[in-house]
Subunit: 330 residues, 2 copies
């Protein structure tokens, strides 16, 4: 229902459909709660050499043109190239081919992709180019894009990050709540104005999360419960447009999280390679299937290595297995 | 003293000079503790139109080549371009010319630049290209590069972020400690192996920092003191290679921070446009001038708007004023 509720906006201004509604519709239409994590490791790429070879000359041309641009902007001075720029640029061609093949193979069993921004940033500007193209490819395939950068900064900068994710065409992005409510507000407002969502960290899946997120506050409750209340308060909509990143390696917390955040979509990383089990996640799905998104990255991309078969069909089979398991829990 | 203390490393392996030593040497050599924040706003760029015009065709050629590469990697399919990609690409040429002119003008009064990554990411991959070239230009001018992205993620991803900053040639980068010690370790180890440093958030300068960072723990101390102890424990060296981001808008905290982090370099944002005053910062400099780095962004870049004069000389004068004020406090 795009535009619903926008009676106070005269003229051509159109209120985008809220993220919670878009997410619920996408999960229902695709019959999937699986989020395909895209964390390309240059050392473990699928063998898509033919396509990478075809992409490489054009990427090299882009780098050369960028050098020319930098020289012109500097008034003729030639800046030093970044350390290892050529190597990273070469790797970018292979990563791009890998990402597109992974989306083609596993995407049909998924509702969204979750590119891990670090894995693209390590390739420098060519990596951001690959990120943009992978996101565009996923959107063309009917998938949502959840950009995983865990950003957080003072309000003036947070507003700029929201612009960056709008430029990327992200349907949602992850955020770090350490800087407080006024630092989350510009991220939420920026996302909301584009019909996008924010997933804020509440309890992560790494062992060290106990060092800070589990700290007891004066009233005896852990810090993550305080963050959970902040997230619940920030979201709007029947299914809220502000979600929570809730590590699946601590399923005993999920019941309490659902109490504190009854309308909040949970992004559940840690399934597969990080040790979580889909069957432990049932409390996340209590308000409806779209309230529990299950992320898997390496377990899908590397399924062919595990089984000794072709990576594409193996990835599709593993994503489909996860899809059916999660779908059967709700 | 590069290589000092590396007697256990036989053969050609060379231990890089630790960041704390490099920072102290740079501050002494340049007689400056000023960090030039680079937060380019496309709406407030310096008038460097000539250089931007010269850079634009080459940037456009880079974009076209990138399109070709994406098509090849997709096996002939043309992905949709990102929303507003052409507009952002056009802005990137102007931002690049602005950044290089700002570094040329104010750099001589500074010891480092601190590019705000959000401001480059909002321009998409062309923005990362501009970021890389601006960092290279600063290094060529003898400035350190402190990349301000406030990254933080689970350990496997944190290690990738460390690689990304090494690829950027950053001398240090900012980090968010919410995910705990095991998530900071790969950032610190990755930086240390390259002779670089990490500045972790301890107490930020926004009002909302009170929402989380000032929360009282069971023992009555605020959360930021817990983070301060973690930062002090992580650092190595006479001047530590793990620093702290300590908002200058709360100078009453600086004495306590120095008690908790006696060897830690402080990165002090919030001077100028955010309301801080350099003269309040004396406790930061107690262990030595390099232990207190003073960041200013908009107050330098926009000094010409304030005074109605040319932006370059006005920026240089403001940076020099800050340099002298800070230098006189130690």
């Amino acid at each position: 229902m795009p535009g619903a509720g926008s009676i106070e906006a005269p003229g051509p201004v159109r209120t985008p459909q809220p993220f919670g509604e878009r997410l619920a519709a996408a999960v229902a239409a695709r019959e999937s709660q699986i989020v395909l994590g895209i964390d390309p490791d240059p050392a473990r790429l699928w063998r898509t050499a033919g396509r990478a070879d075809q992409a490489r000359p054009a990427l090299a041309a882009a780098l050369a043109a960028a050098d020319d641009a930098a020289r012109a902007a500097a008034g003729g001075v030639t800046p030093s190239p970044g350390a290892g720029a050529a190597v990273r640029f070469d790797a970018a061609a292979a990563v791009l081919a890998h990402c597109l093949a992974l989306i083609d193979a596993a995407g049909p069993a998924c509702v969204a992709i979750k590119p891990q921004l670090a894995c693209f940033e390590r390739l420098g500007f060519a990596g951001w180019l690959v990120l943009e193209r992978a996101c565009a490819h996923a959107r063309d395939a009917g998938l949502l894009v959840l950009a995983d950068g865990k950003r957080g900064d003072v309000p003036v900068t947070a507003a700029v990050y929201a612009q960056a994710f709008a430029g990327l065409g992200a349907d949602a992005f992850t955020a770090n709540p350490l800087l407080g409510r006024d630092a989350l507000d510009p991220l939420v407002q920026g996302a909301r104005s584009a019909g996008a969502g924010v997933f804020a960290l509440v309890r992560t899946s790494n062992p060290g999360a106990a060092d800070v997120l589990d700290l007891r506050l004066e009233d005896g409750s852990p810090l993550w419960e305080h963050l959970a209340r902040m997230v619940a308060d920030l979201g709007a909509g029947e299914l809220a447009d502000v979600g929570a990143v809730t590590g699946a390696t601590a399923p005993e917390h999920l019941v309490r999280m659902r109490e504190l955040m009854p309308r909040t979509p949970f992004l559940l990383p840690g399934v597969g390679a990080q040790g979580g089990d889909v069957a432990d996640l049932a409390p996340a799905f209590a308000p409806g299937r779209a309230a529990g998104l299950v992320t898997a990255s390496r377990s899908i991309a590397n399924a062919g290595e595990t089984s000794g078969t072709e990576p594409g069909p193996a990835a599709r089979a593993e994503a489909e297995r996860l899809r059916q398991t999660a779908w059967s829990l709700a």
